[in-house]
Amino acid sequence: MPHRRNRSDGANESRRKFLKASGTGAVALSLAGCSGGGDQDPTTTEGTGEETEADTTTEEETVEKRTEDSDSIPRGGTLTYGMAQNPDTSNYLTSGSVYSAVALNLIYDFGVEIDPVTYEIQPWVFTDWELQNADADQPEIAFNVRDDLTWNDGEDFTIEDVIFSHDYIIENEVGEWSSVWNNIESVEEDSGDWDCRMTLTQQIGTWDSSALGACPMLPQHIWSEVDDFQSYDPMAERENGPVGTGPGVLTTFRPDTSMQIQFRDAEEYPLTDLDWVDEHDNLVAGGPFLDQVNFQIYGETAALTQAFMRGEVDTHYGSLDTDKIPEAQDTEGLGLVNGYDSGFSYAAFNCRREPLDDVALRQAIAFAWDDYYWTQQLQQGYVFDGDFAQSPGYSGVRPESVFDGELLEGAAAEAFKFRGQGDSADPDVESIRSFLENGEVIDGSSGTFAGQDYPGSLSGVSASQSESKYNYTFDTAQSSNLDGVSDVELYVDGEPLSEFKGGPISILMDPPGENPKQGQAFERWAENLRKVGIPIKLEPTGFNTMSDMVYYNADYDMYEMGWGGTNPFGTSIRSFFHSNFAKEAFGENEGEQFAYNSTGYGVAGGSSDELIMDAYGEMDPETRNEKYATAIEKVYLDMPYMVRDYDKQRWPMNTADFTGAIANIVDPAYANWFWEATHIHQTE
């Protein structure tokens, strides 16, 4: 859903800092459906003979067709949903935590909804709409509003509520809902055939999701009495707290320990009975089927995982810990709902830092990352090998999907694969050195680079550079970092890298104790780079410290991050890679404001600003997808991020007592949790 936001959750700040959104064709991806009871066969990894635990198929497979009749689905029951962090507040306007949102998203509705399978924009509170004056500086959208909704306190929902909701958020410039007042100038009652008319602030390509679907519906009879939305506490004002049109009622909100959502009677909530839901191949109308969801909060992920394994909770936020997946699969009554992550893990380069401002060096460093070791051996096949900065779950804007390729396949998406010597884990040192010495760059044109053929870019886009920025040579090693590994060192414009500008390159990473497998992978990467002659230091750093160094001060060379979120329509690359989101754009707030563009790409080391903004303002969806895919491919070639992997989500579920979850969609535990909550029902 475009509007149900992903925000910081503290414990995994990066994961929930970014908005998610869409892209069509997520269903084209594969993975088996809901699995459990040990019915999955481990696959054999080609070439090694090693077995991985994951169901690693990447064959195309659609979300399974639903054949249930909603009348035959049993109603009632309580699902217990575990979380490893506390919610922050029950005030939807100020909440920034995903752990509040899992409950609050069931209370509030928006103008339009995104189909969780196809990512098409569908009617919700608004029945139909029309974009008018599309070429004007401030286009308008005329729309009609449903007249059969009620608030969960029994009051009728009206057009005045729609207008009030937008006015309230725009006038108060509610920080957490900045997309409303950034994108929408006003909403007024229409004088013609439509109920309402919305005026945009500018041309926005994703106007349907970013404007029509941006604003939560707020009851005028409640919020008109609220003078200070910042300190408003809905639970203190009334017994069942927040008032919304959604199916849920927040009956308990104990931020230290638990929350409870009780669902309204089916006849009180008509939205899941809409025609498009009813006719959908993969959805079932008439939900929610449960009586309630109890949310239980645990102090840490390990306690949460244990709570699931011993049946204390029926499901929990996020994917099951990889190490526990085999045990869950072998346990009677426990299952896993397969899905896609909405983001990716990556290593980032500080493009301001010389010589990392050179695309050529960034690409060469990527050649040494042993992706097979990471994805197959350490991650046991539970991740896809990374390439573009866009989740394969939101494939509609991925270059290989848009430009007639096969998802996650094709040499154009493997330009920076590990350059090993044959099938061995040893890097092809000579070819990487030659790449640098020859001043080469994989710039989008076809050729053989560091020993591997590249067919040319899918979109025809070129990298920001066609040759290296510096003169690279290899000469006698000066750095002790290379002792016993390499006799030669990379020289940049005649100076050893260890003495050039900031000295050896360092990588900020999680302390290995917190993430041992990642520690192993980065140790191997550093070792491979040393073999090439590139001195590298690994600097284990706590998350908060790293976050400060990276997002506020840009005081780093490279860092790794477990998650960067993308959205279905590709707009997330604007936050990640446009220069307006780098710290340099913040003026006097530099150092205080969280810089989503942490690498400074666009400010230094290449830029995709023009392509990104061209896509951002494109009003035609198909053209917009092509433009975003082009921008994404340019970012891939310029490599401010080296995308490591995309998680194959395994959402845990008590399959003995519950069924009906929608498999093979993106982030079932959060981004599409509304849909899961309205589909899950008791096992007969």
Binding site: G10, S178, Q230, G299, G587, Q593, F594
Partner: protein, 328 residues
């Protein structure tokens, strides 16, 4: 006759107060030296500079630093900890909710540790040098060397996961709502508190025993113990009434400081058992950069430690008649 002079007491109070002021100053400085501010987590990428400035104004960050410092010092001394940027409620409300839970858990652990520890210490000190003393002492040291969190996981695995006897999370059942009678509430809390309590007490009683044991051994050499034995009193009476009572003095004083440190150790145990107290709050606040909450939590722990220190000095004079403070 008072054993502690008013002048000495006043001096100790002033020193304690100054200690707290220094701690507050350090807390203020540490918070301000961090990159960004506590409103950083509330700033979204689309926000305009003027909106960020307005937010700074609302949260008092546009004031000169010295004024922020003065406000901070005044507010903290009046119990005004400000608002939590995460929860948007007064920090004090959160503290009031959390602190009693921490005190219940660690109060209970304290009582258990300071009953078991002195008893075992008394026994071993009385039998010092015997095979029983050596074997129990050695095994106690092994226990003392175990990290509390590791022991906690072991207990969870055994008593919750394998045997299913005891709960390993929370203070009481969250769902379904049970009938809130006195008996059911106590039973429910006992069911939940037992594992974190024994995890804490299991390690901490040894520390107490290590103080009691040599203390006991020392008093067994005292004349009044020989006199009691010479009077023909039973060994049990001599051990408990004459030796142990005097040996308890260092244990009692150590207990006051021990309680403060027991609370300080709440962070790990509360995390492991999802116990919704101050320790868990500190971890969450630091992770989510809710600096006002983290700052207030540290401050409250600091106050507890400083006050306990002060009490130690006062109580010590009453426990040991030989001690007199502040006199010539």
């Amino acid at each position: 006759m008072t054993r502690i002079s008013a002048r000495y007491l006043g001096k100790r109070i002033v020193v304690s107060y100054i200690t707290l002021l220094v701690i507050m100053t350090l807390l203020f400085a540490l918070l301000r030296s961090m990159p960004g501010t506590f409103i950083s987590s509330m700033i979204t990428p689309e926000m305009q500079p003027e909106q960020i400035q307005r937010m700074r104004e609302v949260w008092g960050l546009n004031e000169p630093l010295w004024k922020q410092y003065v406000n901070f010092m005044v507010n903290y001394q009046t119990g005004e900890f400000g608002m939590s940027p995460t929860n948007r409620v007064p920090v004090w409300d959160i503290m009031i909710r959390r602190l009693p839970r921490t005190l219940i858990l660690f109060g209970a652990a304290f009582i258990v540790a300071y009953i078991v520890g002195p008893l075992v210490g008394m026994y071993l000190g009385w039998l010092r040098g015997s095979r029983k003393d050596k074997s129990i002492f050695a095994s106690s040291l092994v226990m003392y060397s175990m990290p509390a969190f590791w022991l906690a996981w072991l207990f969870i695995w055994l008593f919750n996961y394998e045997l299913g006897w005891l709960e390993s999370t929370y203070m009481y059942h969250q769902f379904p709502q049970f009938e809130w009678t006195v008996v059911s509430t106590i039973t429910n809390v006992l069911h939940h508190i037992t594992l974190p309590l024994i995890s804490l007490a299991f390690v901490n009683w040894v520390g107490v025993m290590l103080v009691m044991r040599p203390s006991m051994n020392n008093v067994t050499e005292e004349d009044y113990v020989f006199l009691a034995q010479a009077k023909g009193l039973s060994e049990r009476t001599v051990m408990i009434k004459h030796a142990a009572r005097n040996a308890l003095i260092p244990v009692a004083t150590q207990a006051i400081v021990g309680l403060a440190f027991l609370i300080d150790g709440s962070i790990i145990i509360e995390q492991v058992f999802s116990w919704p107290g101050i320790g868990q709050l500190i971890v969450n606040a630091v992770i989510s950069k809710d600096y006002p909450v983290a700052q207030a939590s540290f401050f409250i722990l600091a106050v507890l430690v400083v006050v306990m220190r002060l009490l130690t000095d006062v109580v010590y004079t009453y426990l040991d008649p030989r001690i007199k403070f502040g006199e010539g």
